[in-house]
């Protein structure tokens, strides 16, 4: 704690405190919009994206040589062969094909920066979205009452003090289950909202901000005093950059979607050096029971958004790429067989994507057996062959240096599968 406070004062950022009687300093244009100030030594950042609704892993990354799959999905099966009306899959390794709307992933995969794990999922066989998301986010697939989320525990295991309120950040309107717990984590749906606001009345807002800062500084409640101080420091930190007119690096273009905007703001926070180490964003619409489509349609739109958003983020990171690892997750996969309404129902295993320079990329990890009925879970679903915790814990370990799996994932003692080099 002390080191940061000391730095803030020494760095002249306490301008605010001398604004009495005039306009407080924290909004002064003079310091806004300039280059990042480097308040913290940048550490590694793990970015997690939860795809809510259960992504059809067999359509995202299709084992296209599997004849059982072809038979089970008369209108949904896609092939890597050229020449048909449907755009072909991107052949990754002669066995797996990437959905054509995820073309953005091809180059990072070929560059060995992206790894795919197939057959990933939870040991708990529930096919309820709620339960499966809950278990994946708490990280305890057989225990509902776990108070904390795995990302919150990860923050606690980083091994250094939370010098910043932004150590764990979720780009959502309320804190997700993954971040439940006592370690610092904030939910921010829009960086520009992180301020004292009186719409259209900046002077009034400034005056109020000054009043609040003084009041919180004198309160006898330690909790309110300390957090009040942090809040105003945080405002000042964010005010250093012009969040509204942010220009991504390397001409990266984020899709104008919820996920695109979330990742864009995560990129901003990273560049501002606010001390963020664990970030979380969400993507919705994966529950494709009806007409999920093939090269066009709902599913194609979703994977396009996912890949374009992630690639824009990766491009934007530029020289900072070494510091970042992105990992996707989804609560379960979908039935091997298509249903009667051109979609797929709740299944078991799915796949996930991990992007980073220390990833053992260019490979589809995990085990997928031929989709003959005897190889399916309950005779219908892609079997879970990799426990999600073995992948999550490996990424947390290799990227963030979190090795205490007993705390990160209590009740789990499986092995890692080597998705990181």
């Amino acid at each position: 704690m002390t080191s940061r406070r000391g730095f803030l004062k020494a760095g002249g950022l306490a301008l605010f405190g001398i604004g009495l009687g005039g306009v407080p300093g924290f909004l002064m244009d003079a310091v806004a919009g300039t280059k990042p100030l480097g308040l913290f030594k940048r550490r590694k950042i793990m970015v997690c994206i939860f795809q809510r609704g259960a992504m059809d892993g067999l359509m995202a990354v299709t084992p296209f040589t599997d004849q059982y799959l072809k038979a089970a999905r008369p209108t949904l099966f896609m092939s890597a062969a050229k020449g048909s009306a449907v755009k072909p899959l991107i052949d990754l390794d002669g066995r797996f094909g990437l959905h054509p709307s995820m073309a953005g992933f091809e180059s990072v995969f070929r560059d060995k920066r992206m790894a795919i794990v197939h057959g990933i999922g939870s040991p708990n066989t529930t096919r309820s979205h709620f339960d499966a998301q809950d278990y994946m986010e708490s990280g305890t697939p057989f225990k509902k009452g776990t108070e904390t989320g795995w990302l919150n525990r990860a923050v606690g295991l980083l091994g250094h003090d939370a010098a910043t309120p932004f150590q764990g950040v979720s780009l959502t309107s309320s804190l997700p289950r993954s971040f439940y717990g006592d370690n610092p984590a904030v939910a921010i749906s829009n960086l520009q909202d992180f301020n004292i606001q009186m719409r259209g009345n900046i002077k009034g807002a400034n005056l109020a901000a000054k009043s609040f800062e003084d009041l919180y500084d004198q309160t006898s409640s330690g909790l309110l005093k300390e957090t009040g101080k942090e809040s105003f420091d945080a405002i000042k930190m964010l005010q250093k950059t012009d969040t509204k007119n942010y220009k991504p690096a390397n001409n990266a273009i984020y899709p104008n979607t919820s996920l695109g905007n979330s990742l864009k703001q995560i990129a901003q926070l990273i560049k501002m050096d606010v001390g963020m180490e664990v970030a979380f964003a969400e993507s919705g619409g994966w529950d494709t029971h009806f007409n999920q489509g093939t090269d066009t349609g709902i599913f194609a739109r979703n994977v396009n958004d996912l890949s374009e958003s992630i690639i824009a983020f990766w491009t934007d990171m530029g020289t900072l790429q070494d510091d970042v690892t992105v990992m996707t997750m989804t609560e379960f996969g979908r039935t091997v067989k298509q249903n009667g309404t051109g979609g797929t129902d709740h299944g078991r295993a799915s796949c996930n994507f991990i992007l980073g320079n220390a990833v053992k990329g260019g490979l589809v990890h995990g085990t997928i057996n031929p989709l003959a009925i005897e190889n399916l879970e309950d005779g219908r679903d892609l079997a879970v062959t990799t426990d999600f915790r073995s992948v999550f814990s490996e990424v947390a370990d290799r990227h963030l240096g979190i090795s205490n799996d007993k705390v990160l994932f209590p009740d789990w003692n499986g092995n890692k599968i080597g998705v990181m080099s």
Binding site: R52, H129, A208, L224, G284, H289, F290, G293, G342
Partner: protein
């Protein structure tokens, strides 16, 4: 439906025992002498009244302290525990929410979930199944809307909105404030969540019928009611929990020597095989011990959890609604006949159903107590009763109540005292509450102003202290969410952690300050305040005077010295004041803070896509005497650290 004889019997028994009890209780329960030891703690009666109000209401309204003094502190508290003061104006406000009193069955019929609507629309030929998700999405949505309108159906979001609105109005306006706080407390203790779609539509009835009527009664009744409620059965999955093959009553046994009609037999078989996945589900059994009764260190083992889960197999939902849950089971009941089922050990009790063909008939042992084979429904009742009366439960519940109402880390002495009362009064919540407030620990400096208001409490205390008129309660819900408490959406069965540490963080604290400013400057749509009339239309002569006057109105019996000292120099800067006034004249009028998102399958995604309100070019003066500087002062008071405490 005929009430089962058993229920009538037990009711008569309860009535009798109540009569017996009161006739032997010297002087009757009304004259139990309660004395609050606040004088020993060095408090004046006024200060004590303010403390009581801060803990057992959603915030004092102006004049409340005087009213409590006039009535007497102890009497006021007893009246609050009784909780039967009339609420005519509130009742009128609630009348606008026509669906908050629907039964679960009625809800199932009127508010089908989106996926079900799609299925129904396809079935009725209203929507072509091949068009779902394809082509013009707008036209498709319109089709579905038309279908719903034509069939008198509504989207679930509307029900939930009415439900949330009623909670806010009750908290703001009910005269039975303590009952409302306890409803919140017990709901959170037995938390169920709207994030779980399958149980969301049962949650309104859960609060209304399961929690609300039981908040000051015997703990056992509360526990039993929650165990049998559809919301809890679904939220913690017990409704699917089934005994292992061979352990449940066989169809042959079901025949009981009589020949059932072949069609009835067939239906019974269907019932048994209904959940093919089935099997034992331990979720409820674990949480009922860990979270609802004994506490995590309450002395149970994994084996106790498994055994308890076996005891509770077959506890499930009764069919409800024409197309609702268990419509297939309704057919079974029709065919087999209610009397036939009862004879065979089925128990139907409102929305609850015990199905013996799914119940594990074997012998079990939980916490050392043996449950003989063939115990049926009754052994579950026995188990819950045992848990409700366990020593660990008395301590666990007492500590939780003290944490909510006294301070975040209640003294062991206080908890012990309350636990003793819990034990000696058969878990009578009312008695435990009295024991708590009659203890010196409730009145010491370790308790005064030591609790941090939850975001909900903050919002409610603000509107109450300003005597606000709420016409759009949902606007407050959005703010409360922003401040870190998405009510009814807490995903874990633990409920919101009830600690200041949890409520106060960087983002939420800023939003508390912004809430104060927005509320006082009338920028929250549908929340009307009149600052001037709050002070009997006396305009304060200076900003400093405003600070003092309104500080006292909003925070009665608090020491405002430091607040005034800190704010005075700024408020007395004439240049600054005129700048603020000028800037405010250009400010836009109130706009909805959050664009309501229509019903969506992804509950967690709701609210992500906010639209920013447009700026209104027209200068607008604030209404009736709410001058800007005054609004600013009041906004700062509400956002101040002192007002976050209770």
């Amino acid at each position: 439906m005929k009430a089962p004889l058993k229920v009538i019997c037990s009711f008569v028994f309860l009535l009798l025992s109540a009569l017996l009890f009161s006739s032997f209780d010297k002087g009757g329960s009304k004259t139990i002498k309660i004395v609050f030891p606040y004088k020993q703690a060095g408090l004046t009666e006024r200060q004590a009244a303010a403390h009581l109000l801060s803990r057992f209401t959603y915030g004092a309204k102006s004049g409340d302290v005087d009213r409590v003094l006039k009535m007497g502190l102890e009497k006021w508290f007893q009246q609050q525990l009784d909780g039967n003061i009339k609420n005519e104006s509130l009742d009128k406000m609630l009348d606008q929410y026509e669906d908050i009193n629907l039964t679960n069955s009625e809800v199932e019929n009127k508010y089908p979930r989106q996926a079900k609507v799609v299925r129904m629309a396809i079935r009725d030929g209203f929507v072509n199944k091949d068009s779902v998700g394809k082509g013009d999405q707008k036209a498709y949505r319109k089709q579905l809307q038309d279908y719903m309108a034509a069939n008198g159906l509504k989207p679930e979001g509307e029900l939930l909105r009415q439900f949330i609105n009623q909670k806010i109005l009750r908290a703001a306006y009910t005269n039975n404030q303590l009952h409302e706080l306890l409803t919140d407390f017990w709901f959170n203790h037995f938390n169920v969540s709207l994030t779980k779609n399958q149980c969301a539509s049962f949650v309104p009835a859960f609060e209304r019928d399961v929690i609300r009527p039981n908040v000051t009664g015997k703990f056992q009744n509360l526990l039993m009611a929650t165990a049998k409620s559809p919301a809890m059965l679904v939220f913690l999955d017990n409704f699917t929990s089934t005994g292992e093959q061979g352990a449940t009553t066989s169809i042959e046994d079901m025949q009981m020597g009589e020949k059932l009609k072949p069609v009835a037999l067939k239906r019974l078989k269907q019932l048994q095989n209904k959940k093919k996945a089935g099997g034992l589900n331990e979720n409820y059994a674990r949480e009922v011990m860990e979270l609802h009764t004994l506490g995590v260190d309450g002395g149970y083992t994994q084996n106790d959890v498994t055994q308890a889960a076996r005891v509770l197999t077959g506890w499930t939902l009764a069919p409800m609604g024409t197309d609702g849950y268990g419509a297939a089971m309704e057919k079974v009941i029709e065919k087999v006949g209610e009397a036939n089922l009862q004879k065979r050990g089925f128990v139907r009790n409102g929305d609850f159903l015990f199905v013996p063909t799914r119940h594990d008939n074997g012998e079990k042992t939980v916490l050392g107590k043996k449950f003989a084979a063939g115990g049926g429904y009754e052994e579950g009742v026995e188990l819950l009763s045992m848990l409700a009366h366990h020593q660990s439960t008395a301590k666990f519940i007492s500590k939780k109540l003290a944490t909510r109402f006294v301070n975040d880390h209640p003294a062991q002495k206080l908890v012990d005292k309350m636990a003793n009362t819990f034990n000696s009064s058969d878990g009578d919540i009312k008695q435990v509450m009295i024991a708590m407030v009659s203890s010196p620990e409730f009145w010491t400096s370790d308790a005064l102003r030591e609790k941090t208001k939850s975001p909900f409490e903050l919002a409610m205390s603000a509107v109450r202290s300003l005597d606000a008129e709420i016409t759009q309660p949902y606007q407050l819900f959005s703010w409360i969410n922003k401040m870190g408490q998405k009510m009814y959406y807490y995903q874990a069965p633990t409920g919101f952690p009830d600690r200041g540490q949890y409520w106060i963080n960087t983002g939420s604290l800023l939003n508390r300050m912004n809430f104060g400013l927005a509320l006082a400057s009338q920028r929250i749509p549908g929340i009307k305040i009149n600052l001037s009339s709050l002070n009997n239309n006396h305009e304060p002569e200076s900003a400093e005077a405003a600070l003092l006057t309104y500080g006292k109105l909003i925070m009665p019996e608090r020491n405002l010295e430091e607040t005034v000292k800190r704010l005075k120099p700024m408020l007395n800067d004439p240049e600054l004041v005129s700048k603020v006034e000028k800037a405010a004249a250009k400010a836009p009028i109130a706009q909805p803070e959050v664009q309501m998102k229509e019903e969506s399958g992804d509950m967690m995604m709701a609210g992500l896509n906010k639209e920013r309100p447009r700026r209104n070019a027209n200068a607008v003066q604030l209404a009736n005497g709410n001058n800007t500087m005054l609004a600013q002062v009041v906004g700062v008071i509400i956002g101040s650290p002192e007002f976050q405490r209770k």
